[in-house]
Symmetry: C2
Subunit: 256 residues, 2 copies
């Protein structure tokens, strides 16, 4: 099962991605958690120290090695069971394999087009066991969609909060994900504080596209200044996210 | 005075940009408010109807016209007093001229490199009167910095909220802005709810780099579901931002 998580900046993509990573990891399969945001913070959210994550080779550096092995051909099936690439470029935490797209760059040096293009090729070529999951935490906004970075995933998860701007972004994401040929799109409503806010989201999307409503968490907000794990500070949020993961699994046909 | 506003997704860049736009507009000069985020929402925040903003030609389309006029040369000084480009590509609201970088694209079509490159050339070539201001609301995160879109501004404003992730992003932004040669960098602390949160920001940056602490606004949060002007719902926030604008003006040497 290959998933991508997107949405407007600040809606809680990384917290949601971290929760999904940990929940699917508990089912026993390998979870490949990929930080696809140049402004990265997924590592810390799943419990990997920031300095360890910073030492990790970014996946874009895999490109030349893969080209050599495949004889320069465009087609390569990456099988983590027999190929050592994934081990070399990932940080292992239980059955989570954390990977990151690219390094911070120098101001004015270049864009992240190369990283995005390679990440798309990598995720597309990744051959998974039935019980394995890929979760890509995308950058804020819509450029990764105009680039097509997540083309090839089974489902695009769009996180929204009760704000008009985040709903507008989600509608752009939905349209562009459809244009990319992504077969399933699901909305996760986050930071819900009232029935009024829930109704706002409910009235903005067709009911069957909403995978769940996650309550606003004072604990996670208060914890944002600490380096610790956001998802560990709120068990209720994790329980709500388990229901969302069940639905995702049901839709995509994964094992849970 | 040319300013750019950046920071992690969700910290309140657009609300801050809208407040600065309205405050400088009151001083009498022309304010060029530029939405440099493909996932745009500055227009609505300064009071321009979303459908009007969507009809506006994006500045990237100016490129070929300017090339023709300048005979294909790289150097062109754009003087809004005598050139009609800015009128053709901007929405006028009092003495605010709103411009936007680019159009939404099709999923998987292309990146926004071309838009970013042209926007940099445009802002650099813009010849301002002493009383005029350019405010660019940048996309979330750091890619606009690795691209150098805002190279040439007088000051980079970095918005942070009391979270470790937004402070980490701000430190990347500071480093990259310095690498771009931007002469002044200022931090605006937003969404402050307690003395503890204020101290967290204060301890994260040198004191003289912090331009102000903006209190968390329940009114703005509650208003996020409405299409109305965020900055009009909270007069206290506007008053706090006036003090920030005074400091910006003092540092850059603009008129206020």
């Amino acid at each position: 099962m290959k998933l991508a998580i997107s949405g407007k900046g600040g809606v809680g993509k990384t917290t949601i991605a971290a929760a999904i990573t940990r929940i699917f990891a508990q089912t026993g399969g390998t979870v490949y958690a990929i930080d696809a945001d140049p402004d990265a913070c997924l590592a810390a959210s799943i419990g990997i120290p920031e300095d360890e994550a910073a030492k990790l080779k970014p996946v874009v550096e895999m490109r030349d090695v893969i080209r050599e092995r495949s004889g320069g051909g465009a087609f390569y099936v990456l099988n983590p069971k027999v190929d050592d690439f994934i081990n070399d470029y990932s940080y292992k935490l239980g059955n989570i394999r954390f990977l990151r797209m690219g390094d911070p760059k120098k101001g004015g040096s270049e864009c992240y087009c190369r990283e995005n293009t390679f990440l798309n090729a990598l995720v597309t070529s990744l051959l998974l066991d039935q019980n394995d999951t890929v979760i890509m935490d995308m950058g804020a906004g819509i450029e990764h969609l105009s680039r097509g970075t997540a083309r090839g995933v089974d489902m695009m998860l769009v996180v929204v909060e009760p704000s008009r701007n985040s709903v507008n972004t989600a509608k752009h994401v939905e349209r562009m994900a459809r244009e990319l040929g992504i077969p399933r799109i699901g909305i996760i409503a986050n930071k819900i504080r009232s029935e009024n806010e829930k109704q706002f989201i409910a009235s903005s999307f067709p009911g069957n596209s909403i995978l769940g409503y996650i309550k606003f968490s004072e604990a996670i907000w208060a914890n944002a200044m600490e380096p610790s794990l956001a998802v560990e500070v709120d068990k209720e949020m994790l329980a709500e996210m388990k229901q969302v993961c069940l639905k995702i699994s049901g839709e995509v046909g994964g094992k849970f």
